[in-house]
Symmetry: D3
Subunit: 138 residues, 6 copies
């Protein structure tokens, strides 16, 4: 059976502040500049989740998109949409919410839930000019 | 001379919370729902500023785009980008930062600064699905 | 109070065939060409609904976007999404489903339902290159 | 019959240089800055042509899009695509090829050719951030 | 010589219905839900074809884009644009026209026609949120 | 530490002419057709630069995007924006400025400057339909 890559695109709106509490204020500002602004700022994030798998003969699907959409919404969007990523999300506690760190946590959350096909890639667009992709590689 | 409409598109990333302090918490949640989330959330706003005016024969321009861009950046983007719209912006103090109210304040800020041509429209995209346009009409 | 134009963007996927049953086959093919293909074809339509109105002081809203979205989904999207526009939609019976005719029917369906502000414009994108706008003008 | 606004989007790739030969080099550079670069530069222009008119009962069309597309391609795209706008286009001779001046000439070229409905607007996107609209107003 | 990946984007508008004739109606509705709607529905499909190959010194091209465009249009777009994918396309007969199955057939059709460079990937966007990629892997 | 792919998108507007001076005029026109138009033409190029690397614990960054943006602007955009690619750019002298050849030179220019993470891919969009990707492969 042919192997394919299926991508579902979802979006969410959230705020965050880049700040490493183990560093001085001066070092934080040097590292994060305007992203360290005390009251935070925000983005319309676009999340692209790619699942790789064999096409099933019965359906012609790798995975039913309605199921994939439901998983992404239940596991990610519900938790992060219209939230402050530094304070409001259980599974983001203690991390600096850069796009890199978000992509990795989203991978860890989604990977065990994808049982038809396998999670292949998480792409997170922070703005139309900045994108992070994570493929589960260490 | 022909009259034209020149539009410049800029963007900024900011956070906000929709909350009317003169109302009860219950009424705020009824009105603003997830937009009233206590720690705020955020957007990549897209701002389109349209200036109407006669084309000048010397340049073939309504207004030099470099000047328009400089005005928008100095008067708006500098103040709101990577900021919390409820707390960090002098000219937004005391308003509920809905797209409607932002568009109106941006009009008030920009209108006196546009001296070649006249400000015709402010369009503010909060997400790819939600847009407000203000044309200075009461 | 300032008057603003609020636009909500929704989408739906549908099929249609352009065919005027009161004309001959030859004339239909002359008029509609590949759009008259017997088994129909389809589009991802993008629908932009613009409401004009005064901003309310209590909320800073022209109309609550959640309500506008709910109205568009209940009155339009539910009826046309994943449907054949020539056969499956009660309020499209008997019309040739061009973008023009769809826009007009959508206006007639939505206009009485918009009770905060007034319906100002329906824009319907049939493809990324073809768009119809209707503003209720005869 | 209802009145509608039909928009067709086309694109072309061309080069140009902004330079007013009746001015000094110093004044040209002051006015046009990097747009006056001696060997020119270029853009992927997006042209949106809007025609306003009554919907015809026989077809449900304002104007057959295939005809509108054919007119735009024959009268504009053929002449300007993959061309240098200062040198290669008969009807642009002697003008400074700003987006404003291009929009006006395109209006003058297209307006007499649109015989179903009437030309309502020319929108010309020079980049994704800069757009000119001309509606035939003096 | 350097190896590169050249992508050409084309689009087509078609209708389809997801239905497996070897299953019961109940099972079809369970599997395909609104995509099994009896009269079908449709999409503006975006097709991205990627060819990998060495850059040729004489031209600086992997493959002449005009040739690649002509191949895609002759072999795919001509056959599927403004068609019903379940009934009207010879090489789609007998398959369930999911994006996965379309991508695989398009690969089989295009792969032998690409003689400069080699076909590397077929990406098919069914909507702006749903994309399938096939790279010829079993 | 996880390995990620960070992409930064920039754009520039330039003109070029496809012409191989070692070939006859007839052969050039056969090979390059309208791209060989004597006075050149132009594009709004979109450049996507992808860097692969480990996420750093101190920042949660692969590489500070501000630094990556500064490198791309200093090394590429400054040199090519609002320029004629056949005449005005030192490091493009002597090459035919196809998207393929541009991508390769941009790789050679950027690769030694990226010292956090490693350059993984250069994607260059010449139009919205034509894209070249280079990953440093021979």
């Amino acid at each position: 059976m042919p192997k394919m890559y299926l991508t579902r695109r979802e979006s969410f709106s959230a705020s965050h502040r880049l700040w490493n509490p183990s560093l001085t204020e001066a070092r934080n500002i040097e590292l994060f500049d305007k992203c360290a602004s005390p009251n935070g700022h925000g983005h319309n994030y676009i999340l692209e989740v790619t699942v790789a798998g064999q096409v099933r003969g019965e359906t012609g699907y790798v995975i039913d998109l309605k199921k994939l959409k439901a998983i992404i919404r239940a596991e990610i969007i519900q938790h992060v949409d219209h939230k402050h990523l530094n304070f409001d999300v259980e599974y983001l506690k203690g991390i600096i919410p850069t796009a890199e760190n978000l992509a990795r946590v989203f991978w860890q959350v989604l990977e065990p839930k994808i049982t038809e096909g396998k999670l292949f890639s998480i792409r997170l667009h922070e703005t139309e000019n900045n994108v992070i992709e994570y493929r589960g590689e260490e």
